[in-house]
């Protein structure tokens, strides 16, 4: 088993790591950096619970070998919080009661953030389309969509996303 030296910039901090070829980005984030926000859901790119941001783009960390992520800038759900303050999407998810069991919530926050950053003028159809890969098995979709639409308004009023 060959080992690789990689550098990840996670939530703004460069991290030097030694990883195996077959280690996934998700596992490195959770098991080596103890950032357990991103969840292991299905492992086959169906549920989006493992979503993280690469730059401003949402990607599924269960599909990326850690070695392939060498040099990337990654934001995990923890990284959306700055100085103890939630970002607009996270805060609206709380405000709208869009959290039931909570397992999908980190993924929703990440994809929601990508959605608001890409199009702060999003309407409901756009949000539903953008979030369509994120599963909530409690089926609390209505509140989640409302939260992201509210976050779009917040973003236009200058709140950090």
């Amino acid at each position: 088993m060959s080992m690789h030296e990689i550098t990840l910039i996670v939530n703004g901090k460069p991290q030097k790591l030694t990883v195996k070829s077959n280690e996934l980005l998700l596992n490195v984030l959770r098991d080596k950096l103890f950032l357990t926000g991103a969840k292991y859901g299905c492992g086959i790119a169906e549920c989006s619970a493992c979503t993280v941001l690469k730059g401003d783009r949402s990607i599924m960390s269960c599909l990326v070998p850690a070695v392939a992520a060498d040099g990337w800038e990654i934001t995990t759900p923890e990284g959306l919080v700055v100085d103890g303050e939630l970002n607009a999407v996270q805060e609206e998810l709380v405000n709208k009661g869009a959290i039931q069991c909570g397992f999908c919530t980190p993924g929703m926050a990440m994809t929601g953030t990508a959605c608001v950053r890409e199009n702060p003028d999003a309407d409901e159809a756009f949000v539903r389309d953008y979030m369509r890969g994120n599963y909530c098995r409690c089926t609390g979709y209505q509140a989640i969509v409302e939260a992201i639409l509210a976050a779009c308004e917040d973003a236009k009023n200058g709140k950090r996303v």
Binding site: S58, L63, A68
Partner: protein
């Protein structure tokens, strides 16, 4: 995670060098949205993965004159947001929007979609109907393969183990459209799809047409018989297109008696779907809408 080795190629030269070295003991991985599933499923074992995700020279969409070039590592999200493709290849632009979900599209690449040659690949019918030419590179050099000869069967393309797809080239086709039918909107494999590129006169008579059906048996196919039968037909008339699109097109679709993937979809239903989707795609390509209910009045 199952065991695999991984080498990263930062340039095309490094990638073809690695392909020459490992041959059929390696697979390329770009976005990984399909490759990682194959490994997890145990379908790819003891392989060396060649990571080509960050080869920037293979990324990008270019328009020169009326020729469009798309790099193999262009992500589906770049395709769906491309103004060039919106104008010059709306079928491919539309296919990108129906592809999985936005998060997957941030990773998945067009080269990967073609290279994997899945029966349900969403970009395949569009590239077929655009009559794209695929440029394939290896250590020995470059060669060009027309899209119609590229797809050989499920998971099989004209690409040899030591070769990789570099780019796709095609002529601008503003009058084209892609229609897909899946079980649901999100992450749904296409049960059937149809891409059409068309030229009609001002009365709606078909002058030239290219039809490609997705998931039509083991692979996406060009429907040459239906294309021939459609020339001179009034696209607005439901009666006139019945013969070419509901009967003749069946000769183009590979015969498949048994349903695939358990009881996912029967061959009969797929045939019916392809006929209907082709009709709608043709009308959307020609008139900008599929005239679902308007044709009776005309």
């Amino acid at each position: 995670m199952k065991d695999f080795k991984l080498v990263t190629a930062k340039t095309v030269d490094e990638a073809v060098e690695a392909l020459a070295k490992y041959g059929d003991k390696c697979k390329l991985i770009a976005g990984g949205t399909d490759a990682m599933l194959m490994i997890r499923d145990g379908k790819w074992n003891n392989l060396t993965l060649i990571n080509i995700r960050d080869i920037e020279e293979l990324r990008g969409i270019k328009l020169e004159g009326d020729t469009v070039t798309i790099g193999a590592l262009t992500r589906l999200s770049d395709i769906e947001h491309s103004d060039v493709l919106k104008e010059h290849a709306p079928c491919l632009w539309g296919a990108a929007q129906l592809f999985a979900d936005p998060t997957n599209r941030h990773s998945a690449t067009i080269g990967g979609n073609v290279g994997r040659c899945n029966t349900v690949g969403d970009t395949l019918p569009s590239l077929l109907c655009l009559d794209a030419v695929v440029t394939i590179v290896s250590k020995e050099g470059e060669r060009e393969v027309p899209m119609s000869e590229m797809l050989l069967g499920p998971g099989k393309t004209a690409c040899e183990p030591n070769e990789m797809i570099a780019k796709f080239t095609f002529k601008s086709q503003p009058n084209s459209a892609y229609m897909k039918f899946g079980r649901r909107k999100s992450m749904a494999l296409s049960m059937a799809g149809s891409a059409v590129s068309i030229k009609v006169d001002d009365k709606g008579i078909v002058e030239d047409i290219r039809i490609a059906a997705g998931n039509a048996g083991p692979k996406a196919v060009r429907c040459y018989n239906a294309e021939k039968a459609m020339i001179g037909v009034d696209l607005k008339s439901d009666k006139a297109i019945e013969e070419p699109l509901y009967k003749v097109i069946q000769d183009d679709i590979a015969p498949r008696k048994k349903p695939r993937l358990g009881n996912w979809i029967s061959g009969e239903y797929r045939r019916e779907l392809i006929s209907v989707l082709t009709k709608r795609a043709a009308r959307k390509a020609a008139f900008g809408e599929c005239m679902l209910c308007k044709q009776e009045e005309a």
